[in-house]
């Protein structure tokens, strides 16, 4: 029997909510139902962070905290977690939480509207594992916009308060909280009826059955995309299946050759494992969305929604990744490249869902580079996302995969250029104009992010840049400075600041 109500922890107590609608947002729950006005709506699309709240998950008897954007987080997804909003940090009359006190001390609020969101982002940082550097703080805050301060005092407050961390009331009652969550019901969640529902199956079998029965339902993994269909396009989504609690979609398995990710694994969960494949990938991951977005958003969702401008698909295409799709009890495996058919059209049948992503790791003689080009470094959708993998032996390009986002209606490989590069030496490339072949592969569009001309030019330049870097790396002759940010920028400043 499935549960028809959600349970979560707030202020150390179990809260029970019945009658949750499929797409009620957490922000509306806080502001309209609970009249907790501390959490603010800035943009209603997960891009400003003013609505940040912290969610806690129980992991081995401990609570793990992360900030999410409550404006695009559906209430049903809260089930089995701890909810902390800004009001909860210090009750009226109580001393301010150390994070709040540091913000006051450093004059880190002006108009104050973004401040609760910053406080919650810092609270998550405060409860993180390591003492953050200034860069770590900037990373944590990438999803929080402030228009008044210029950020310096906020970063100062964060660095200071995390440097000398004191036990807070959340630490004190952590075991108790974890126990309350551990004791919560483990059955599937189904709220509503056959026509309108929010469902959160807990197993692959339940998911497969439910989706076969309701193949027109909307699958939600992190909701960082679907959330906007609701808040901005005002779409009515009568049937929502949340897959974040499905056991069997949450695995991260790796060996020397391959990294396998369950479809519901979030960016945050797999950040280290994916980033370990290449430092450029680590740089890119750090810049996808924001900490809040990565805490909810999944690699699987980035693939399944078929977006032409997702950052991860080009990386996966260049690495030669495959996916596993499931329908009922049937599974099939597919090279990622054949999943993307056209704009809004993927190789997926009704009732079929993404189960796993298989990512081959780099082998000897394989060289990888990727570049995210956007107007702003942090939390910006790419104008061009380029990812390249070359197999180079004795200075000869034996094979390569060149994949691009933002250049076509889908994430797409540059087959003509790949063909032209095959068996070419690095010296021949340096002297020739092979990158001009990209004209045959792509005819990009102009939009608010970039013109078609810029997209084309920068794509060509990125290919040149990649092979210049790799050539230097192979020759081991000291590396040409080619980066203004990221791990590979280290050679000109000695800093790896991204």
């Amino acid at each position: 029997m499935a549960s028809d109500r959600i349970e979560f922890i707030r202020n150390g107590k179990v809260e029970i909510l019945e009658g949750v609608k499929p797409t009620d947002t957490l922000l509306d729950y806080l502001r309209l139902k609970e009249a907790n006005y501390g959490t603010k709506e800035g943009c209603n699309e997960g891009d400003c962070g003013a609505c940040s709240v912290v969610l806690g998950r129980e992991v081995d008897g401990e609570m793990h905290y992360r900030a999410v954007n409550s404006c695009i987080y559906f209430v049903g997804m809260l089930d089995g977690q701890e909810l902390i909003s800004v009001e909860d940090l210090s009750a009226k009359g109580e001393a301010l939480h150390p994070v709040q006190a540091a913000m006051v001390k450093h004059h880190a609020s002006q108009c104050g509207f973004c401040t609760p969101g910053f406080v919650m982002a810092l609270f998550a940082l405060y409860h993180g594992e390591d003492k953050p550097s200034r860069d770590g703080v900037a990373e944590q805050l990438a999803g929080n916009l402030c228009r008044c301060t210029g950020y310096r005092p906020i970063v100062d407050a964060a660095v200071e308060v995390c440097d000398d961390r004191m036990v807070d009331k959340f630490d004190e009652r952590m075991q108790e909280t974890a126990k309350l969550i551990a004791n919560m019901p483990k059955q599937d969640l189904f709220i509503g009826n056959g026509k309108r529902f929010f469902a959160a199956p807990k197993s692959i079998i339940s998911l497969a059955k439910l989706y076969q029965r309701h193949p027109e339902a909307t699958i939600v993994a992190g909701g960082t995309d679907v959330g906007l269909w609701v808040t901005k396009r005002l779409m009515d989504l009568p049937k929502v299946i949340y897959i974040g609690n499905v056991s069997g979609l949450d695995h991260i398995l790796e060996d020397d050759l391959c990294l396998n990710l369950g479809a519901a694994v979030t960016y945050s969960d797999a950040e280290i494992q994916i980033g370990n494949i290449d430092s450029d990938i680590a740089d890119t991951l750090r810049r996808i969305g924001s900490k809040q977005v990565r805490a909810s958003g999944t690699v699987g969702g980035n693939i399944a929604n078929g977006s032409p401008i997702g950052d991860m698909p080009p990386i996966l295409l260049a690495l030669g990744a495959s996916i596993i799709l499931q329908k009922g009890n049937e599974e099939r495996m597919l090279a990622l490249g054949s999943f993307f058919i056209d704009y809004g059209k993927q190789n997926i049948e009704q009732g079929e869902f993404l189960k796993e992503i298989q990512i081959p790791k780099l082998k000897q003689n394989e060289y990888f580079r990727c570049y995210k080009i956007s107007k702003r470094f942090d939390q910006d959708i790419s104008a061009v996302m380029a990812a390249f993998q070359f197999t180079i032996i004795d200075g000869v390009i034996k094979s390569c995969r060149l994949a691009f986002g933002g250049m076509a209606a889908t994430p797409k490989r540059a087959f003509a250029t790949e063909h032209a590069l095959k068996d070419m030496t690095l010296d021949e490339f340096a002297e020739g104009q092979v990158e001009e072949m990209l004209d045959q592969d792509f005819s990009p569009l102009s939009d608010m992010r970039a013109s078609a001309e810029y997209r084309m030019l920068v794509s060509k330049n990125l290919l040149t840049k990649a092979l210049t870097e790799i050539s230097d790396e192979i020759d081991n002759i000291g590396v040409t400075s080619t980066r203004v940010v990221g791990n590979r920028a280290a050679n000109w400043t000695g800093s790896s600041r991204l």
Binding site: R31, N36, Y37, G38, T39, K40, E41, G42, E45, D47, C48, S85, V86, L96, V99, Q100, M103, V104, H107, S109, Q110, C111, G112, F113, T115, P116, V137, A138, A142, N144, L145, C146, R147, T149, I154, V155, K232, L234, Y371, I373, S374, K375, R376, F377, D378, Q379, D380, I381, D447, M448, R449, A450, S451, Y454, V458, N461, L462, K465, S481, T482
Partner: protein
Amino acid sequence: MTGSKSGGKNASGQYIIGKKYPHDSAKQHVSGRAIYIDDIREMRGCLHVAPGYGAETCGDIITMDLSAVIASKGVVCVLTAKDIPGVNDCSPVMGDDPIFAENTINFHGQVMFAVVAKTRDEARRAAKYAKIEIKPRVPMITAADGRAKDASVFPHYSFTSGKADAAIENAALNLSEDMVMGGQEHFYLEGQIAMAIPKDEGEMLVCSSTQHPSEVQHLVAKMLKINDAAVVCECRRMGGAFGGKESQAAQWAAIAALAAHVTGRPAKMRLDRDDDMMLTGKRHDFDCQWSVGFDQKGVIAGVKVNYDSRCGVSADLSLGVNDRSMFHTDNAYFYPEYDIGSHRVKTNTVSNTAFRGFGGPQGVLFAERMMQGIAIKTGRDALDVRSDNYYRDDKQTTPYGMEITDNIIADIMGQLEQSSDYRARRIAVDGFNKKNKYLKKGLALTPVKFGISFTLKHLNQAGALVHVYSDGSVQINHGGTEMGQGLYLKVAQIVAEEFGIDLAQVKITATVTDKVPNATPTAASCGSDLNGKAAQAAVVKIKGRMALLAAKMQNVDVKDVVFRDNIVVAGGREIKFADLAKLAFLERVSLSATGFYATPNITWNRDLKTGQPFLYFAYGASCSEVIIDTLTGEMKVLRVDILHDVGKSINPAIDKGQIEGGFTQGMGWLTTEELVYDDEGRLATHAPSTYKIPTAFDMPEDFRVNIYRSLGNQADVIHKSKAVGEPPVMLGISVFCAIFDAVASCKAGAIPKLNAPATPEAILKAIKSL
């Protein structure tokens, strides 16, 4: 007031002034307990309003079928122009901004109707069901489109010495250049919002997030055809404004008030972020062309510059904005001959409006970009060219005829040149650029001179109301609004200092039109100058009465009564301030007073182009170093040094916040913040997903901000302080000039064509232009 024992005296003998008190709402901010309009507990039956508009940009309205809107779930009524009892206008001055479009629409997003429903969600959904048929006209989208049709919102205006052409032609060297300066979205975190509550006898209370409550009051009254006296407008705080709530808050307040009037129920209107960005005005974007003549050293002989300013569909505040661009076309430089012209172009885009700096930043950007060009042409370092052109010696007359008497340009620039180690870093940057093929660095040190006062004379006035209660606590109210800039705190500090009491004894209250009437907008950086003086005047009155009482009691001269440390000293006897207040009450002495202030010496006559538009100037200097990637156009700001003049600071922590925040906003304007319109004139960048303001990572890696050691404002301004709200925006121009410098390093002697904002695309394009 929060935590604030007065502590010791400062060098000027002051207890409260000059101290780094935290923002008065800081604890409320961090605990989520600061109340913004949307956080006010809604009264039972409160309705919600959403705007309705069409897909077209401009044309005649053929049909507007709202039957499906009215039939939609939760809808109470739909409002159109026909429901307005009074005047269908929400413009600040000219009567050309209809609240609801009638017969024609003139820009995309022009509001045609409003849905009033039981929930906000229902109102938003219903608004989509309108069936609107428009007979489209071809829109004028860019300033060039408008110029081609000779469309303008105001006549051309110029400052000219009459001999600029000849001076340029006869100069040893000259340059003719042009650039595009993009606009800017305010992106206040709290979007536009108002809540109207109907009161007795047709009176209306409007809670509005506005920099100009008196104007909201006036426009609501005019719209409802009732007296100003029947409308009260209140604003406790705004979640950011930056000029975007000076005139732009009025329309939503008016619609909310109309909904309340029609239904008899409280009504709230809060724009969704995308609507907010599409439906409200922005910083003006300019097409700018210039010619300049100069000698071998780059000393300017004459300048001729034209601005084509995209004003949008109506006048709004474009007169003052564009005048201010002209007033700042000189920035820190003496132009012997000049011809400064400004076209205020009408277009079919949302009416552009006030934005921190109010046109000044565009003028200063022109001047600094021109200097970069002259430096390349003469082969000199740009700092040397700047320095040789500063206002100096007997060359202190601006193109609008005002004499500069408080010039510290050379000093502030010289100090920053030293402390930023400019010369050594110039050598290092050149060395780096010689060694590196793909990455290039750039460096620039630029000044700011910004005129303080409203250029519209009558706006330079303020009122305040101060009450002392019989327990000795003090309540202060004035016409200025709080948008995060710390105005309330600064005025409270002024009041506490004057009374000689702890800051905690001074209670700050919301700005409301029934306490202080006829206030002018909180704008032009003058908030504390004006309201501080007005509050001080009120305190002086009450203090005088209390002193008289104390003097009478002790039989001493009133001159010998001293207020300090929460006591009043008279004839060697001390009495607690609170006790004296109680005594005053018992003795039937009034403990309440209004204060008023009008800025002196503002004599500008726009028609004659004579007189003095500003009381004084605020100055600043900033030095930026950047690195660019010549393969992608990506850019990173490496280091920024700032020295900024705030006179004698009333609160250095608040002032530093303004300097850093202003710089960042200016940097954003010129780097990542790009407004893109489609071919139909619809804004394509209408959300933070597509419009990119700086994040924490965009902060300079090395950021050194200092306040200039000032002897104090030489004009008679409150406690010798200087305005600080707007001038720091223009410190961000050093980032643009540093990017320009980096691009220019790619080819010696060539002048890049770099437009603003310098996005990666703009930078790569400029490199290609060499």
